[in-house]
């Protein structure tokens, strides 16, 4: 079974482009209903399936995702 | 009559077209008009504004540094333009996202809940029309009939079916505008 992972999203810098969302193999991510100060719906975690693969972070154009994976 | 107006907000809120509609309508009513936008990359994701001047006489400068009316749709614009309203002038703003409300006491201030109203009307795009309605209520410099003519100029043909909705929004704005401070 895959290791457990976690993502931390800097929601104030997120622009809500959804590129991360479609790249996640575990459908961990989705857009929030709320908007941030710049008026963007931002990405949030919607489940705990993250495996720390970093796909989301790698494709995030604004480098707002940090990924953790247990050792 | 000369009315010098600044309309400012986020790109996408329709501030530029609000100014254009006013100007087109002005032309319909035989007024002199000028419209000048902020332009270029600065607009990308940032703020946008335009100056609309409507007058019975030839307009000299299309750009002024103090305004008869400021229509303000976000906080950065409030910060920038509150101070630029002429004493005794008019400030209209949409409450949505405003964290610091106007403090000047020498101008007439009207707040509108236009964004909320637009959501209620199921079309966030018409927020600007609601605000326009509010403005026209306070300063009826252009007749509604000419505003509708102006609209049909600004809107591409394929959107003309939306004119009734816009009219509704303008009327709604006229209805809901209310003063928060009067000189």
């Amino acid at each position: 079974m895959a290791k457990k992972g976690e993502v931390v999203i800097d929601i104030e810098k997120c622009k809500g482009c959804e590129v991360c969302i479609v790249s996640c193999p575990r459908s961990v991510l989705a857009l929030s209903n709320e908007v941030n100060a710049k008026g963007y719906h931002f990405t949030i975690k919607v489940n705990a399936e993250c495996i720390g693969c970093a796909n989301c972070a790698v494709v995030c154009p604004d480098a707002v995702i940090t990924v953790y994976r247990e050792k | 009559m000369t009315e010098e107006i600044i309309i400012a907000g986020f790109g996408g809120q329709g501030v530029l077209s609000m100014g254009q509609i006013l100007c087109y309508s002005g032309v319909m009513q035989n007024k002199e008009v000028t419209w000048f936008p902020s332009y270029g990359p600065e607009m990308r994701g940032g703020t946008a504004n335009c100056t609309a001047i409507i007058s019975d006489d030839k307009i000299s400068s299309p750009i002024v540094n103090v305004y008869d009316t400021a229509i303000v749709l976000n906080q950065p614009s409030m910060d920038k333009f509150e101070s630029k309203v002429k004493p005794g002038g008019l400030l209209i703003y949409d409450s949505n996202g405003i964290t610091r409300h106007p403090i000047r006491k020498d101008i007439n201030v009207y707040m509108m809940e236009a964004s909320e109203e637009a959501i209620k009307m199921n079309n966030t795009k018409i927020m600007n029309m609601i605000v326009l309605g509010g403005f026209l209520k306070i300063k009826p410099i252009i007749e509604l009939e000419n505003i509708l003519k102006g609209l049909s100029k600004v809107l591409p043909e394929r959107y003309h079916r939306l004119i009734p909705l816009n009219e509704q929004a303008i009327r709604k704005g006229m209805e809901i505008i209310k003063p928060t401070h009067l000189v």
Binding site: S23, Y40, A54, C56, V58, V59, P61, A63, T66 | G45
Partner: protein, 253 residues
């Protein structure tokens, strides 16, 4: 907060070769990802203090705010000439240009061809989004046949407007280029591959091999008038068939 979140468990974070400035790019624009891959390549090679970059005129005109590197702004199209000037007086530094398709393949065509032909020992990163992003979506040399833009509002008519230009294939013909490849950064796998290509190019520069040219086929959601996700799909379906990904010229061993 999850206990996984602790420094020693970090597997991916923003590279320090990018500054903390919020990029002005539109949501989902590939420029950001391309920046990141290049910055990570520089980070991984540990050459941040030995690298000088050249920004173009185009959406990435402010790239110099985002890379934590010494950088120069070049006039529209002239980045490779500027980089030549830099490299010739500082041959021991890593030098790269980062240029859009209008910049590199329209107004800068002469500079591009001759820089590659001289085999200037630099890295050219070429962002091909088939459009003039910064100025509001005019037709680029790489705009596809039939593709709409603000100066081809009814679709590019190759009869009168010219053909989409594969400049990468052209520079691959030149004796001065050493490594020429076409990549993308729109999926995790592609982005990782692009980074490897960029790293390889910088390694070749170390070895004095001549010009390395990395094209990145990218999107422009704003001017293509699509959501970012749609734009990436459109890119796969329309751009890639004409601009196929992969190496075009690889070193002969």
């Amino acid at each position: 907060m999850s206990e996984i979140i602790k420094p020693e468990n970090i597997v991916y974070q923003k590279t320090k070769v990018l500054t903390d400035k919020v990029m002005h790019y539109c949501p989902g624009c590939g420029h950001g990802t391309a920046h990141k891959m290049l910055a990570e390549a520089i980070d991984e090679l540990d050459i941040q203090y030995e690298t000088i970059g050249v920004a173009p005129v185009g959406c990435s005109v402010l790239a110099y705010y985002y890379f934590d590197l010494d950088m120069q702004e070049a006039a529209h199209g002239r980045a490779t000439a500027v980089a030549t000037g830099i490299k010739r007086v500082m041959p021991e530094k890593y030098v790269f240009t980062y240029q859009g398709d209008g910049d590199l393949a329209a107004i800068g065509t002469g500079e591009t061809i001759h820089c590659c032909n001289r085999g200037e020992n630099i890295l050219i990163v070429f962002i091909n989004n088939g459009i003039y992003g910064m100025t509001g979506g005019q037709m680029a040399p790489t705009t596809l046949s039939g593709m709409k833009s603000s100066t081809s509002p009814f679709g590019r008519d190759t009869k009168t407007m010219g053909n989409p230009l594969k400049i990468t294939e052209l520079v691959a013909q030149l004796a001065g280029t050493y490594y020429v490849t076409r990549q993308s950064v729109h999926t995790p796998a592609n982005a990782r591959k692009a980074k490897r290509a960029l790293k390889k190019a910088l390694e070749y520069q170390k070895l004095n091999k001549g010009t390395c040219f990395v094209e990145i086929v990218s999107n422009c959601p704003s001017n293509w008038k699509m959501t970012p996700v749609e734009s990436n799909k459109w890119m796969e379906e329309n751009m890639f068939p004409f601009y196929p990904l992969g190496d075009i010229k690889v070193p002969q061993q």
